[in-house]
């Protein structure tokens, strides 16, 4: 009898200690996620401009965003463009650079550092730099292109080239993928390559049947995290658009994101545009919920593939 008693007390103590250790995050989760998430759902059914008290508006915000707000579908299309094209190119390029770095035998450390540094460049600074490098008038890139006789594109000033320009910038910052691909490639067992070579496998066959299967979990990880990052893409397109359009920043400056011609508008920018520029908090919450649904869908994909990706514990 006494033993069960102490056992129960012990259990309670251990539950309390767990709770104590987790408490910072549990409180944070409640205050900075659960409560605002419920509010987001609530506001998505209210008309609220931040001044007059919110009033019930039913599904008006929802129909407004999906049927009447002119920027929702272009923003979703742009986001999907980034998700499909930018992420694919980034993973392929990251894998290529990762393979290259494992093959370089001279001054490897120097090369690795040079390839990695752009990843660390603060996003705003990198965007300012690329807006300058790629500006059609005086940018060094177009000077170089024209000097070798290649017709220079308008980059961030041309709606057909603004997303490729963004992509180029994201390819420049591929250092994180290089590091994880490098680690994965070095982990592939040497014996498998030797065996394949003995069987007379060509370089392509060794890549296809030895390298790829061994690193496929990492490719999957790179794709899913890349997709999530692409969906959150906010600072770079906004700043690129601002700088390219020549808008002067200051308190109270109004800039309709998406320059040129909504070609760099992404979903997160809509939340800002609707909420903080148009003071239509209700409709902004609708877009926030769309963004939430998409992120959770991709996160679920990541978790399902957890096997080799995120170790659940011992």
């Amino acid at each position: 009898m006494a033993t069960t008693h102490t056992l129960r007390a012990k259990h309670r103590r251990s539950a309390l200690r767990t709770l104590a250790f987790l408490s910072p995050w549990l409180i944070g989760f409640a205050v900075f996620f659960a409560y605002p998430m419920i509010s987001t759902v609530y506001f998505s059914f209210m008309h609220y401009d931040g001044f007059r008290p919110p009033t019930w508006s039913g599904t008006k915000n929802w129909t407004y965003v999906f049927a009447h707000y002119p920027f929702f579908w272009p923003a979703l299309r742009n986001t999907l463009w980034l998700v499909v094209i930018m992420v694919t190119l980034r993973v392929l390029f990251g894998l290529g650079i990762g393979m290259l770095i494992t093959k370089i035998k001279t001054a490897t450390g120097v090369f690795r550092t040079l390839f990695y540094l752009p990843y660390l460049a603060p996003p705003v600074a990198a965007t300012m730099a690329f807006a300058f490098l790629l500006n059609p008038g005086t940018g060094p890139v177009n000077s170089l292109l024209e000097s070798v006789g290649i017709p220079a594109p308008g980059w961030f000033n041309d709606p057909d080239w603004s997303k490729p320009a963004l992509t180029l910038m994201f390819l420049w910052g591929v250092g994180d993928l290089m590091v994880i691909f490098m680690a994965a490639l070095l982990d592939v067992p040497k014996e498998q390559y030797e065996a394949a070579e003995l069987d007379g496998a060509s370089a392509w066959q060794r890549f296809r049947f030895v390298t790829l299967p061994n690193i496929s979990p990492i490719i999957m990880f790179a794709v899913v995290t890349g997709v999530i990052a692409a969906m959150q893409c906010y600072t770079q397109p906004l700043v690129a658009g601002k700088v390219a359009s020549g808008v002067i920043q200051g308190a109270g400056t109004m800039f309709e994101p998406g320059y040129p011609e909504h070609s760099t508008l992404t979903l997160p920018q809509l939340v800002y545009n609707l909420g903080f520029q148009r003071f239509d908090y209700g409709s902004a919450c609708v877009v926030a919920l769309v963004l939430f649904a998409l992120s959770m869908a991709f996160t679920a994909l990541l978790m399902r593939r957890r096997g080799g990706l995120i170790q659940a514990g011992d």
Partner: protein, 297 residues
Amino acid sequence: MTQVLDRPAELTARATPAERAARRRALLEWIAVHSLGVAAALFFTLPFVFVFLTSLMSDSQALSRDLIPHTWEWANYRKVFDTPGFLTWWRNTLVYAGLGTVLTVVSSLPVAYALAKFRFRGRNLTLMLVISMMMLPPQVVVIPMYLFWAKQLDLSGTLWPLIVPLAFGDAFSIFLLRQFLLTIPGEYLDAAKVDGCGDLRTLLKVVLPMAKPGIAAVALFQFFTAWNDYFGPQIYASENPDAWTLSYALESFKGAHHTDWNLTMAATVLVMAPVILVFFFAQKAFVEGVTLTGVKG
């Protein structure tokens, strides 16, 4: 001299044709790999070089198509420092990044420790929630959060809405630290328990010293997240230039000096430089952090 030059020829002469072919292939591969390496290095480096060179040009030359400065205008950097507000923005950034980093580490470590080493019901669920939060765009909850800070607490135009939440654990930091703590053998913790250490003592006296590299990685990532943050300051600080941070204020150089690319690029260099300097002192922590969160536990 001739002897040295002759020796390889002698060696090649002695090699069988198959060996020679293999050696030639290896040499060609070496050349191909290293040319590609140099090409890639140019792609990754030239943007930095052009930005730096432009930052040293005169006003008029920055608007031309020249790549190399005629005269090296180091005074451009002085002009950036003399811009009204620049030192305030620098200080704000250090406060946000520094205070935020300390709070993040202090609040995330116990959570990560519990997730890595305690056995309790709902542990996997908690971990999954942490990972989900890591993937959540900040825009999802920004409307109610803004209304809460601005309308209820009247704290917009300050850095508090950015700093205070970091005292409640940060999902990415918790995840990274947990991945790191998993690698600490349980025997150390058992030994501490046998010696009569409580949980808090174990955390402070045993885990903390062993987790230093993990903490360093988290601190660096958090510091740069704050340093790089644009959205947070845009939401909470945009109306008050005295509360701007460097990343947010950077754009204003384009505005304040119109199309003075030279000063804009000098400011860009100044925002990039600390990150790159710190990287050279703490390379290991960075790379460790990327592989820990990227590959496996």
